[in-house]
Subunit: 152 residues, 2 copies
């Protein structure tokens, strides 16, 4: 398994992309995932009805994934978020094990997972993936920060 | 980078989970991602307005990710899908490089990415992630196949 995982790392991807770009004109213009500096997973909850589930998820993440940085609880929505949430930040190599775990263990909670490429608007809207129900985002906040790295 | 990626493979995860479960009661009941046998990414398009973008994405995927199995074009919706789509099937180790690439290169298309655990309903609804706009699924079709591995 280790060998197979290593075969798909970014070095392999970069080499493969270079070869493919020589033969396929559309491939040359594809965006390279190496621009991703980190990921954020925003775990949403309702302070009354689902804070206990969010706490249990948080405890599990802390125990199993020590390299995930746990953000503060935000019972009051902050930044582009319109519901209570906390943030889980992690480095790109952790996606391979952490996202499959979240898929199977999110316990009905909505999660916005997005890469950090330096363009907060694109990262939250165009590049994002959602687990569970999609929630509205305050697009005006993201537009304001378009030229700066995401803190959200 | 190779060493870091290898540190997060499933063997590492299993060992880490075992240690964590000894100390944290909630961790023991978490679902282990080792039950994931494969992934499907369903790429949706409109036969009139976005088939060209879907074709370009397909060409790029074929060139860069030869281990992704390209499914047939379905201009007429099939199974639980309510819009035209084709399926991209891939083995679990490919998630680490393929999903980040899809995040950055889906070109405005909606994509449903789900694991295959043998429970088609849970895989398409509870375990799924969406890139782009979420589309309705025919839940009745998924319920019928609940006890059988997913073909969709």
């Amino acid at each position: 398994m280790t060998e197979i995982s290593a075969a798909y790392d970014l070095k392999w991807f970069a080499a493969r992309s270079y070869v493919a770009a020589q033969r396929h004109p559309h491939v040359a213009s594809a965006v390279n995932p190496e621009i991703i500096q980190h990921y954020h997973a925003h775990v949403y909850y309702d302070p009354v009805s689902s804070r206990d589930r969010a706490a249990r998820l948080r405890e599990r993440v802390a125990a199993i994934f020590p390299d995930v940085t746990l953000g503060r609880w935000h019972d009051t929505p902050v930044g582009p978020h319109t519901q209570s949430m906390y943030q889980l930040a992690f480095p790109p190599p952790l996606l391979a094990s952490f996202l499959p775990w979240l898929m199977l263990n999110r316990d009905g909670l909505s999660i916005l997972l997005h890469p950090g490429t330096g363009d907060a608007y694109a990262d939250h809207i165009d590049h994002a993936v959602w687990l569970g129900s999609v929630l509205p985002l305050r697009v005006d906040v993201l537009r304001k920060s378009r030229k700066t790295p995401s803190q959200s």
